[in-house]
Amino acid sequence: MPAGNGRFLNKPITGALTGILNRVSSSSRNSNFRKKRERNNRVCCRKVNVSFKRLCENLDKMAQFGFENDIHSILKLDMPITNAPMARWQRKASSSNASALNGLSPGKSANVSLSTTKTPSKTPGKNKKQTPSKMGGDRFIPTRNSKQMDVASFLLTKENETVDTNEQNATSENQKAMSMSLNGYNIEEAKILHLGGKPLNAPEGYQNNLKVLYSQGATPASVKKTRHISSTPDRILDAPELRNDFYLNLLDWSSCNVLAVALHNCVYLLDASQGEITLLMKLEREEDYICSLSWTKEGSYLAIGTSDCQTQLWDVYNQKHLRSMASHTSRVVSLSWNDHVLSSGSRSGHIHHHDVRVANHHIATLTGHSQEVCGLQWSPDGRYLASGGNDNMVYVWPRVQDGPANQAVHCWSEHQGAVKALAWCPWQPNILASGGGTSDRHIRIWNVNSGSCISSLDTQSQISSLVFAPNYKELVSAHGYAHNNVVIWKYPSLTRVAELNGHEDRVLSLILSPDFSTVATVAGDETIRMWKSFELDPIKKKAKERLAKSTSGVIHQSIR
C-alpha cells in the first residue's frame, strides 16, 4: 500500500476497524485505535498497516470468524472509496472548471465534474456525506446524465449576473458563443422540438445483426477463439543418415500408431504410443537406398520402394518380408494403397498398379508423366488416383479398370514446379490440394468433378507436402526453401492459422497421426519433429469416438 495515498484507505478502514475492535475483548492496542477514532482522518497508512498485522494475529488467536469476514472485506482494496471527502487539489480543480464554465458556482462542482471529466474509479466520491458503517451507501443517488444540467444552470445563473453596461456587449457575445458551443445552437434564436408520444422501437428482441453484413473478419460474436497451437514440437527425434532428397517419401504413420521412417537403407519403426524404436529391415546392398514407404490401411503391412526399382512388402507384426515386386525400370519414389491395390510411381514417369494378392501383381500401367512421379495419392473413396510429377503436371486417374490403356480424367499444368505435395480432403469429396516446388510455391485446390481450380495461394516457399487436418478443418503444408517450416491454413478460406518453426533445413515430408492430433515432419536437418497442433477438446473427443466406426480390411487374409 503506497504510503502517499493514505487518504484513500483510512476512513472506511479505520472506521470499520474501530467498529470491529470495539468488540475485541482485551488488547493493549485498543487504546491506539480509540485515539485514532477521535483524531483527524488523515492517518498515515503505515500505522494502519502495522495495526493490521497485530490485529490479524489477534484474530488468529481468538478465532472469531465473524471478524475475519469483516476484515477481509475491508482489506479488499479494489472497491472505489466513496466515503472520503474530496482532496483539496481535486476541489480546486473542480472549482476552476466551474469558473471556466459561465456562471456556475463552485457549489455545483459535483455535476460539472460528472459531465466534463472522466472520473477514475479510485478517486474519492464527490458527495460529502457521513461515514457509513459499511462501504457502499444505501441511498438513492439519481443519475442526471440525461438532464441538461449545464443548460439549466446557465439559464438559472444568467439572471444573477451583474450587468455591466460597458461590458454587456462583450459578455453577451461571450455568452452567445458559450451557449453555441455548449448546446450546438443559439438558445436565443431557436428551440428544439420533437414529436411526443410513445417511443417507437424496433420489435422486441430485434438485434441489429448488420455486423454480419458489414464487418469483415472477426467480430466479437462470431470469432471463435483460436486454440493454442504450441510453437514447439511435442517430440524431436534424431534421424541420422536421412537422405535429403526432395522427391523421396520417407515417412508414413500407420493406423496402429506406428511411425515408419527410412534412413538411407534402413527402415525404423517408432511405436508412437510406447516410444519403442525397432529396426524393421535393412537393404542388403550398401549403395541402395529406400525411396518410399506406405502403410496399408489396417497398418499391418508396409510397402517399401527402393532405389533398385523394387517394391517390397513386409509383414510388420511378424517382421517378415513377404514379397518383392519388380516392375519398374527406375527407382520407386511414391507409393499409395487402395485396398489391395498398391500403386507405385517411379523416376521413369510411369505409374504401376500392383494387385498384391496375386502372383502376377503388375496389373496396369499409367503413362502420362514425363519425369519422376514424386506425388501419388489415392482419394479416400478410392475413385481417383492423383499423381504429381517433376514435369509440373498433376494427373487424376480413375479407378483401375480392365483394359490396356488407362486414360487420365484430368491433366493440370498450372503448377510451375514439381508437384510432390498432394492431399485429398477427407471431409469434402472430390477436393484435391496440390503444392508446387521451388519455382511454383503455390497451393492449388481443385474440384475433381468439374476439373477446375477452386483457389490458389502463394506460400512463398517450396511445398514438399500437404495434409488435411480434419479436427479443425485445416490444411497443413510443409515447406522447404526458403522458410523451412510448417504452416497451418484454415480451409477453405486459406487464411494462415499458425506457423510451426523449428526445422533448420527444408522439411521433406509431413504426415498426420491416426488420431489426427499430431503431425510428424522430417527434414534435411536430420530430425523428426512431432507437433501436437490439432488436439481436440476432451468433450469433442468423446463425441467423435462415439461416432467413429472401425474400418476393417480384408487384405490381411488375402496376402500370401
Partner: protein
Amino acid sequence: MTSTLNGITLKGSAELVANFFSFGINSILYQRGIYPPETFSRITQYDMNLQLTTDPKLKNYLTKVVSQLKEWLFECTVQKFVLVITCLETNEVLERWQFDIDCDKSAKESSAPREKSIKIIQDEIRSVMRQITATVTFLPLLETPCAFDLLVYTDKDLLVPDKWEASGPQIIDQSEEVRLRSFATSIHKVNSMVAYKRTDSV
C-alpha cells in the same frame, strides 16, 4: 412534383426537401439496422433504389413528422432537422444525423418561381443519399438495440403544435463528425452531417 418545369416555387421546394427527409430517414433507419431489414421494401426514387419502411406505426410517425416539417419549411421557420440514435438501455446518444436547413426568407408564396433544374436538384439529392449509404463503411456498428428520435430546431417564437414537445439537443460527448454533401433547391439549402460516438478501440 408541384413545380414548374424549370422553376421552383416555395411550396415545391418545401415538398422536395420534405421528401428528401422522408427517404433519408428511412434510408438511415435501414442502413443502421435500427429496424429489421425485412420490414423495409425497395422503391425507386431519385433514379436509385431506396428502402422504405412498411411498419405501419413507424410510417404513421414519419408521415406526421414530415408533414409538419413541410409546413415549417413552407413558412421558413425550421433551422435544423436532427435524427438521434440512442442506445435503448442506457439512453446514451450513439449517433446524430444533423441536417441544417438554410431558408431564403425572401421567397414568399406569391413570388415568381426560381430557376433551377429539377434534374440538378435530384442529382444533388441522389449524391447525398449515396453518401448516407456509404457512411456505413466508417460508422461504428450499433451493437445494442437502439431507439431513434427526430428533433426539429425551429424559430424561437414559433407556435408549438399539438403533440410536439420541447427537447434538448442530445449532443454526443466525444463525437467524431463527418460533413456530408449538401443540396440546394433555389430556396432551401440543406447541409448534412453525421456525428458518432468516438469509439475507444482502433
